[in-house]
């Protein structure tokens, strides 16, 4: 003897419900994952970019190395109050450029490039950065100070916008899923009106009828969950496969 008296599983309205809900929850989880990943990524960007300044000094002024050395000394002096990191080592620059261009750079090649100094701020106030800018300008007009905080702010705004969009998508998907479930339940109520009426007449309580819908919804939820998992595995496998192909070529 069967456990349920309402044939909810045979409804044409709920036939594709597990697939629809499964797909929607999959999209929602994708959106959440993307949002969280972006949040993590933007967080590290913001931390990194917000704490550093970059000083870009010409490799040699009028080809005179002595002036270059003097300039380097002055720059070092100017950034004394900060926690200084730079300049970027020649070997690091070789590696970075090699990775970007695909060519091999020697130390001589790197030597003609401007020298990059990374300056750690350690929460230095804005007026100290302005003062540093003035000092550097006094050393040479060709020395540029890159303040990454503006870029960080822009990046932060973009990341926040993407997060808001991601949350909105999730909310829309949830709202859509709830509407679909509500309308399907309503359709089921209409389809099975006669059966429900008979069940009431033989003494069924509303909770008995509700339990049938609840167990059906649980079953649909479980099916959706399995579909969601299958789609997830498929996506991860596909991403892994295509990334391997890209690296191969």
């Amino acid at each position: 003897m069967r456990q349920t008296t309402l044939p909810l599983g045979q409804d044409p309205s709920s036939r594709y419900l597990p697939w629809i809900i499964g797909l929607m929850t999959f999209l929602a989880s994708l959106s959440i994952t993307a949002g969280l990943s972006l949040n993590k990524l933007s967080g590290s960007w913001v931390r990194e970019l917000g704490n550093y300044l970059t000083i870009e000094a010409p490799a040699a002024i009028n080809g005179k190395e002595s002036i270059q050395t003097e300039q380097e000394y002055k720059i070092h002096e100017a950034v004394q109050s900060f926690s200084r990191i730079g300049p970027i080592k020649s070997i690091s620059a070789q590696k970075i450029l090699g990775a970007v261009t695909g060519e091999v750079f020697t130390e001589e090649d790197i030597g003609v490039l401007p020298k990059i100094y990374e300056v750690k701020l350690n929460g230095a106030p804005a007026h100290e950065i302005s003062a540093l800018r003035e000092k550097l300008k006094a050393i040479s007009d060709e020395i540029r100070l890159e303040d990454h905080r503006q870029t960080r702010n822009t990046m932060g705004k973009i990341a926040k916008s993407i997060q808001v969009i991601s949350i909105s998508i999730v909310m829309l998907i949830i709202l859509g899923a709830i509407s679909i479930i509500a309308f399907t339940a309503q359709t089921s109520l209409i389809i099975h009106r006669n059966v429900i009426e008979i069940l009431y007449l033989v003494g069924a309580t509303p909770s008995y009828i509700a339990r049938q819908f609840q167990s059906h919804a649980t079953s649909v939820g479980m099916q959706s969950f399995i579909i969601n998992i299958v789609l997830g595995i498929f996506l991860v496998t596909a991403v892994k496969f295509f990334s391997e192909i890209v690296f191969y070529f």
Binding site: M1, R2, T5, E197, Y200, G203
Partner: protein, 223 residues
């Protein structure tokens, strides 16, 4: 009892049925006299959504849905169109009243099998309603209605959709049930049936109820 439809169309003005345990009444009247409506009113509407369309002068306290279910478990209803659940077998249909009460499935099945055997349908208990004849379907419906041992059995034109031979069998089944002490109110437009089976007849006309034939053995009072 008074009954108005949508608050303005008066169906019954003042009907007071005094039915005692073990009585058998025929409820007769012309088409549209309100036989089915009266039975529905006793059953407190078809379902709670439609219940609101009826307004009783003396409305019973049945707003509580649990209480309404409890009240309906005290009554059995049989319809002219059987109203069996098409996706359930005869056995499952008969066991339904016990199932909705939460009674153990094995016990419910056992009782349903016994009752189906009593009405001579043990050979079709695993068949679906669509494969049964009209008479068999009505006997399954009757068996379902008595499954929960109701205090009152309401039958709305139970022989209306079956041939004469099946109708005869069904009427004899009601007689058997009556002998076991079941209280029955059987609505029919066929007044000769009431005369043939020699039970008192409540005749509905213009919203009034009239007691015809004789009073039931069990009571001195009446309508």
């Amino acid at each position: 009892m008074g009954l108005t439809f949508r608050g303005n169309t008066r169906l019954f003005s003042n009907i007071n049925l005094n039915i005692r345990e073990g009585d058998f009444y025929f409820l007769t009247g012309l088409s549209g006299a309100g036989k089915s409506t009266l039975l529905k009113a006793y059953l407190h509407g078809h379902c709670p959504h439609r219940w609101q369309r009826f307004s009783f002068w003396r409305r019973p306290k049945t707003n509580d849905k649990q209480r309404l279910a409890w009240l309906r478990r005290k009554m059995g209803i049989i319809f002219q169109d059987f109203r069996l659940l098409p996706h359930l077998t005869a056995l499952e249909n008969v066991a339904l009243p016990l199932k909705v009460r939460g009674i153990d499935q094995q016990k419910a099945t056992g009782q349903a099998q016994d009752l189906l055997a009593w009405v001579g349908l043990e050979h079709v208990m695993n068949q679906y309603p669509a494969t049964l004849s009209g008479g068999q379907q009505q006997r399954v419906a009757i068996t379902r209605s008595i499954m929960g041992r109701p205090a009152l059995l309401l039958a709305d034109e139970p022989t209306g959709n079956v041939d004469e031979e099946a109708a005869e069998k069904i009427m004899h089944l009601f007689e058997e049930l009556h002998k076991t002490g079941t209280t029955i109110v059987l609505a029919t437009h066929n007044r000769s049936l009431a005369k043939e089976f020699n039970h008192p007849e409540i005749f509905l006309k213009k919203g009034q109820a009239f007691l015809l034939n004789k009073k039931p053995r069990s009571q001195e009072g009446g309508i």
